[in-house]
Symmetry: none
Subunit: 148 residues, 4 copies
Amino acid sequence: MIEMKRLDLDDARVLIEAAAAKAGDIEVPMCIAVADESGNLITFDRMDGAKISSISIAIDKAFTAAAARNRTEFYNQLCVPGEPTFGIHSTNDGRFSVIGGGVPVVFDDVVVGGVGVSAGTAEQDVVCAEAAVSHFYATSGAAAPGDG
Amino acid sequence: MIEMKRLDLDDARVLIEAAAAKAGDIEVPMCIAVADESGNLITFDRMDGAKISSISIAIDKAFTAAAARNRTEFYNQLCVPGEPTFGIHSTNDGRFSVIGGGVPVVFDDVVVGGVGVSAGTAEQDVVCAEAAVSHFYATSGAAAPGDG
Amino acid sequence: MIEMKRLDLDDARVLIEAAAAKAGDIEVPMCIAVADESGNLITFDRMDGAKISSISIAIDKAFTAAAARNRTEFYNQLCVPGEPTFGIHSTNDGRFSVIGGGVPVVFDDVVVGGVGVSAGTAEQDVVCAEAAVSHFYATSGAAAPGDG
Amino acid sequence: MIEMKRLDLDDARVLIEAAAAKAGDIEVPMCIAVADESGNLITFDRMDGAKISSISIAIDKAFTAAAARNRTEFYNQLCVPGEPTFGIHSTNDGRFSVIGGGVPVVFDDVVVGGVGVSAGTAEQDVVCAEAAVSHFYATSGAAAPGDG
């Protein structure tokens, strides 16, 4: 039997609120999603004014970060024609996101979920997703990945 | 040009919290979604322990309540084999829900969004969705539909 | 080689306008679609106030009426559990409509297209679709099906 | 509660007619779609002779221009392998168009809908979509985006 850890709803709301705070700072209303370690949605907020087309993109980024256990922009550079991983963006019914803004959430060296942010540029989306996980690591007592 | 009203995120979170409070009372962890008047998702919470299969059902109920401007159980009795509306459950890419638990949110006699709840029995889902809109009408200053 | 006839855009707009006029008479804003003999969309109008969930239903009814060459309510009574045709509503990626409101357009005894109407009750949808084809037969010089 | 504006059907038909007039000038029969600010279809015309494969492309361009609030060709240059936004073309169930011919419609500095044109080259599609919005700005009293 496998024992696992997964974000709970309170954890996930902390991540949403932290991403939204950063989105407020940079003045870009965002769609923000948090998925569990299986990629299934825990919580989602569309900030007032965020783009309709970003609803599913944010959810897809959270799915990808959690289920593939990598930041979505990791796949951006792999998903280039001629490279071995090209085409991964159209897998999983098109839900595999290779656009920055999806970041895994790690606890005790294990991926326990993912955050996905969309509606700005890819760079703005990344900034907000990173702010979310940084805040989570700072407040949850979890060590950030790579901490000594 | 058409002028319209739509729930904002604060409104939608009030609805989520009220549905979750009722779900806590009846001890059934729920998936709860709120859509805008066009059926697009504004916010979503999966309470700890709620069923994975209810994620999309809750979102679909919120979509249907808002976009079709009726409670989802209204279609349940119309969508019976031999009745004229049978088959509506497989329209809109299967997103048209005819299972109780989707309730429109009305403001100034206009549908401004929808709440969808899933994970319990249809009856339990309805109770939580109704609790959400009742609380919203009581606290937002909006008149409930049919109020004199 | 097969020679065929198909509604042109002017024909299709006549059908839309006639359906919309009847929808105005009965005071139900409708989604109205016209498809060609292959089921592909020629033209579509969502009247101000018509339901969002009816957009795809109207298009599906026009598709079905043209491509299956029958009124959609013809299938309503056939699509009953235990009857040989049950299940047809979920074919064609769920686009096969068995809800009244889709009516074929016939010219020289051949189906040249279909009208689909949605947003009211099935009965209201049928009334508007019938008004469209009746007006078309009266003004286009085409004999209505069954005319002596 | 959010207050919003959205194109009505009369506005949308003005856009269709203007795009069709330009398509007539350049002698390329087009599929032309107009979506509301949420990306949902308001009206659609397939001009006689326009390609069947362009039906859904025009609808997708209108969706994208409205829902993502940018011209579709804006994404064309961003959606290049190795660039951060590559992959956006397969999001939203493949409905996110990165091919020129989708143009947002702006009113009082807010996106109130989108026009999508398809069946010619991307350049021809853009010319017709631009003609539509230019005519709309000239006749509706709306200031074009960027007007002083």
